[in-house]
């Protein structure tokens, strides 16, 4: 009997720290979403299906050996890029943005897949390169990152393209991008900022950045979202107004309560204490990822865990910084909390891969 359990234990790849904390986070997300959607049970039931399916997906994805991902990463990347190109051609248009592929039972936000596939591919591409990474490899990698990010940008989905961009750069950086290259390119980047401002940003995106600098300049226009979000967060106080009692959220003052601004709802209803509890779960997951990355079996696993965890970290930070008005509004969900199946599944997928990388030891080490 004990043998069977032991063999099951060795046969199953499972990180209970991550699994439990992500499950708790997902369940909290459902509770928050119920309030943020004004008690819309349809939304919550739909989201629950994604959570259950996502947890199963995470478990399944964590079973194959990392080599499986290493060897097939190019196929995954090509597949996800095809999805993106398909989206651009036949995607569903909502509010002037073509981001979704209608699969009949589910509308897939294709950029959420490439967000995971790209870092994994880059890790597989760079893991055996000598240090420091040669200029040629650096440029090849950067071109790939920028091409993929640009496919997403023209949907347009600035938020996700930004995340893809930084996730790719994280892997490149962790793989050993030369400091000299970093110094030179960041110099060029800073100098080209005015050029980017004038040529790559849509007028509404420029407006968002200007709004950030002075939200009071136009409190009822483009500053409305930030102003109302700050009022929601601030009026939550230490203990919050109570579950489903947030007037900012429930009287329509707060925009996009189910997606981008769900954190404001949480902060309004659960206060600073609630914010701290939520953040500590996020921190726990991140620290666990850091630990796993440092103890990973090889360079590919290290890079993948590092890249995906930083992707997770950046997504959280961009969302939080946005709702509190530190950075412009870019449209970024809060992982495991915000409504949206694609985003939810992409992070289950990411953590499934992380668990796979962390739990499979090399046979020779055994």
């Amino acid at each position: 009997m004990k043998k069977i359990i032991d063999s099951l234990k060795t046969g199953i790849y499972f990180d209970h720290y991550l699994f439990i904390s992500i499950t708790i986070l997902s369940l909290m997300g459902l509770v928050f979403l119920y309030s943020a959607s004004d008690g819309n049970t349809t939304t919550v039931i739909k989201q629950s299906f994604f959570v259950i399916f996502g947890l199963i997906l995470m478990f399944i994805v964590s079973q194959p050996d990392p080599d499986f991902y290493k060897n097939n990463s190019l196929i995954f990347l090509i597949f996800s890029i095809i999805l993106i190109l398909l989206t651009l051609l036949v995607g569903k248009e909502v509010n002037g943005a073509k981001r979704w592929l209608d699969l009949g039972f589910f509308t897939l936000q294709s950029s959420e897949i490439v967000k995971i596939a790209l870092p994994v591919f880059l890790a597989a591409y760079l893991y055996d390169k000598t240090l420091p990474i040669s200029l040629l490899n650096t440029l090849v990698t950067l071109v790939l990152i920028f091409v993929v990010a640009n496919f997403v940008r023209i949907q347009p989905d600035l938020g996700t393209s930004l995340v893809i961009l930084i996730a790719g750069i994280y892997v490149l950086f962790l793989a050993g991008l030369s400091w000299r290259f970093i110094g030179v390119s960041s110099g060029i980047f800073i100098l080209s900022l005015p050029f980017i401002w004038n040529n790559f940003l849509e007028p509404f995106q420029r407006q968002r950045i200007l709004t950030l600098l002075d939200p009071t300049a136009d409190p009822f226009g483009s500053g409305w979202n930030i102003t109302q979000s700050k009022i929601a967060i601030g009026s939550g106080g230490l203990q919050g107004k109570g579950y489903q009692m947030g007037s900012q959220a429930h009287l329509d003052f707060l925009p996009e309560t189910e997606t981008d601004f769900i954190f404001s709802v949480i902060a309004e209803e659960f206060g600073f204490i609630g914010v701290c509890i939520l953040l500590s779960i996020f921190f726990f997951i991140l620290l666990r990822c850091l630990y796993l990355a440092l103890n990973a079996r090889d360079r590919f696993c290290r890079l993948t865990i590092g890249g995906l965890s930083l992707l997770f970290l950046s997504t959280i930070f961009i969302n939080l910084a946005m709702v509190i008005g530190i950075i412009p509004v870019v449209g970024m969900p809060l992982p495991f909390i915000s409504k949206g199946g694609s985003s939810l599944l992409s992070f289950y997928l990411a953590f499934g891969i992380v668990i796979s990388m962390a739990t499979h030891k090399k046979l020779m080490q055994k």
Partner: protein, 612 residues
């Protein structure tokens, strides 16, 4: 492939870089937590208020205006309920079927239907009432009441209309209310520490403000205080829940000194002729009657008059909007004579025995210019008393000739000439009390002795309003002690004016009164025709204001062909004698004879007052 050493250094390198990024983000998160802390804990109060402000909406509740009474408690201006048909759009899905249902019992005009259709969706979104029809008739109300159960979303609400019960009688005294502009509203509300907001109206006409007369002067008291109702609203401003109501405070009622009966008598006696009557209670200076004729309906003005009708009133040659009682300037003419006589006594220029020989005219010694009396052959040897009774011009020409003009002007201002003698009249005119300085400043001309002589018979530059003439009349009646006029009872701001004199004693006053009684009682008196009209002993002094200077009666007959050239008729009177209680002044434009045209009006008003 990479060797062991390289792998070791790669691992270290990876370790450093990952930690570097984590620390970088740790710093960012610390900043984020600091920002959240400062929002939620340090500035909590500010944001709590902001959130509360977001979800609450204050709505003002209009107060009811005070009622205006006459001195006997008769209502002059009241708030009359009118009934409006109202629906609640947020409970109605199909407006058109609702409207066609309503049309089965209450007729709706195309305009009313269009208005309902235009505003329906907005009112629905905001959860506000929609007024379908205003001023329902009793029949419509009855029809609705019976079938009310069939129309759950329809109801009738009471709104007031400001209504003057005697729309023509008090047009210039009580005045009227009207709608309000943005600036007025701001002023009114800020005086009550409020800001303009959506308002629940008590009046069908919305915000009201006193535009003229007492409605204007006492607007603040009549207005009352706005109440507040606080609603919870969503981001669209939709009413969700009523939270709190602070009721409005109705305006204070005003008990005026006006006397409905006297007012009616004055109005009827004037009978739409151009003119004015002012009657006063001598005891307290309260204005009993204040009529300017012709008049207009204040209710029409308040409740909306078509532009055409309004223009017709505005362009009427008789100028019904013009307040003749308080703003019309008329020469006092012969009514000034008692005051001139008093000045002569004051300065010892004359006494009651002093006589002159009135040969029908006065010759100004300086340039030989002739100043004629009204009787061609004069009044013969005449003293002050008879000069008042018979209204001898020559006597007063020669008396005025002897005076020092600046002293005379100063003396006349005692009687209310050239100044405002009313505490709460609506823009009263001060008339004109001329002086050498005034003439130099305005006409750039020196004062002639002839100007002083003209002043002696109340002609020339001197002019006064009927209100001032009433004051003058009252001042004579009260022997030089009188309150400033006021329209309200128990006015706290009242001022007692006392005559500044060293030389006029009670005997003099009595003789002045006797002379003025003689104007009616004495067969030679200029108003002796009134003897049969009066029911009490009345003192009076008539006057006839020459508008065009003529040498002879024949000349006058020619110019009087044009009505506007005819003399104005003036009279001041008080009674009952010997202890007068009421004084009156009457002006009838182009009425020609003070005694026989203005006189009967004055007698009728005094009779009615004394009888009361």
């Amino acid at each position: 492939m990479i060797d062991i050493n390289e792998r070791f250094s790669e691992k270290k390198n990876f370790f450093n870089r990952l930690i570097f990024v984590y620390i970088f983000f740790a710093c960012l998160f610390l900043y984020f937590i600091y920002k959240t802390f400062s929002l939620q804990v340090s500035s909590f109060t500010d944001y709590e208020i902001a959130s509360l402000k977001n979800k609450t909406r204050e709505v003002l509740i209009q107060p009811r205006r005070g009622i205006i009474y006459d001195r006997n408690g008769e209502i002059i201006v009241n708030n009359v309920p009118s009934y409006n048909l109202i629906i609640n759009p947020s409970e109605i899905n199909d407006l058109d079927s609702t409207l066609s249902n309503i049309k089965k019992i209450i007729d709706l005009s195309d305009l009313e239907i269009k208005n309902a259709q235009d505003n329906f969706s907005l009112k629905k979104k905001l959860n506000r009432e929609l007024i379908l029809k205003t001023n329902l008739t009793n029949e419509e109300i009855a029809k609705f009441e019976v079938r009310k159960y069939r129309y759950p979303n329809l109801f009738i609400a009471e709104r007031y209309s400001r209504k003057n019960m005697y729309p023509y009688l008090f047009s210039h005294s009580v005045g009227y209310v009207g709608s309000i502009n943005e600036e007025d509203l701001q002023d009114i509300l800020s005086s009550q520490d409020l800001k303009p907001r959506e308002t629940i109206f008590k009046y069908s006409n919305g915000y009201l403000k006193g535009k003229t007369g007492l409605e204007n002067i006492y607007d603040k008291q009549l207005r009352g205080f706005f109440g507040k109702r606080i609603y919870e609203v969503d981001a669209n401003g939709r009413f969700l829940e009523e939270k709190e109501t602070i009721d409005s405070i109705d305006g204070k009622d005003i008990y005026t000194s006006l006397d409905l009966t006297a007012q009616q008598v004055s109005f009827n006696e004037l009978n739409n002729r151009r003119g004015a009557v002012v009657a006063v209670n001598l005891e307290n200076g309260g204005i009993l009657s204040y009529v300017s004729s012709p008049s207009f309906s204040v209710n029409d003005i308040t409740n909306g008059l078509s532009q055409k009708e309004f223009n017709k009133l505005l362009n009427d040659d008789d100028k019904p909007f013009f307040d003749r009682a308080g703003q019309g300037r008329y020469s006092p003419a012969s009514t000034i004579k008692p005051a001139i006589g008093l000045f002569g006594l004051e300065k010892d220029l004359i006494d009651w025995q002093y006589t002159i020989d009135d040969i029908g005219f006065f010759v100004l010694p300086e340039d030989g210019r002739i100043y004629r009396g009204w009787r061609k052959d004069g009044h013969g040897i005449i003293n002050l008393q008879d000069a008042i009774i018979e209204s001898s011009n020559t006597f007063f020409f020669s008396l005025a000739y002897q005076t020092e003009v600046n002293e005379l002007v100063k003396y006349l201002s005692n009687f209310g000439f050239g100044k405002n003698i009313c505490l709460d009249c609506f823009y009263p005119d001060k008339g004109l009390l001329p002086s050498p300085t005034w003439k130099m400043n305005t006409h750039n001309f020196g004062w002639f002795k002839g100007d002083t002589v003209n002043l002696g018979v109340g002609q020339g530059y001197l002019s006064a309003t009927p209100l001032q003439l009433a004051y003058y009349s009252s001042f004579l009646a009260n022997k030089g002690s009188l309150n400033n006029f006021s329209f309200v009872q128990n006015n706290k701001d009242v001022i007692r004016n006392n005559f500044m004199t060293n030389n006029i004693n009670d005997v003099d006053w009595k003789k002045i009164h006797e002379s003025m009684i003689g104007v009616i009682e004495n067969p030679k008196g200029t108003a002796s025709r009134l003897k049969n009209l009066k029911e009490y002993i009345i003192a009076a002094k008539s006057g006839t204001v020459e508008l065009v200077s003529t040498e002879t009666k024949e000349d006058y007959k020619i110019i009087r062909e044009t009505e506007g050239n005819r003399d104005h008729a003036i009279i001041i009177a008080f009674g009952p004698m010997p202890n007068p209680k009421y004084a009156v002044s009457v002006v009838i434009e182009n009425g020609e004879s003070g005694g026989s045209v203005a006189g009967p009006v004055a007698i009728a008003v005094l009779n009615s007052l004394i009888k009361e």
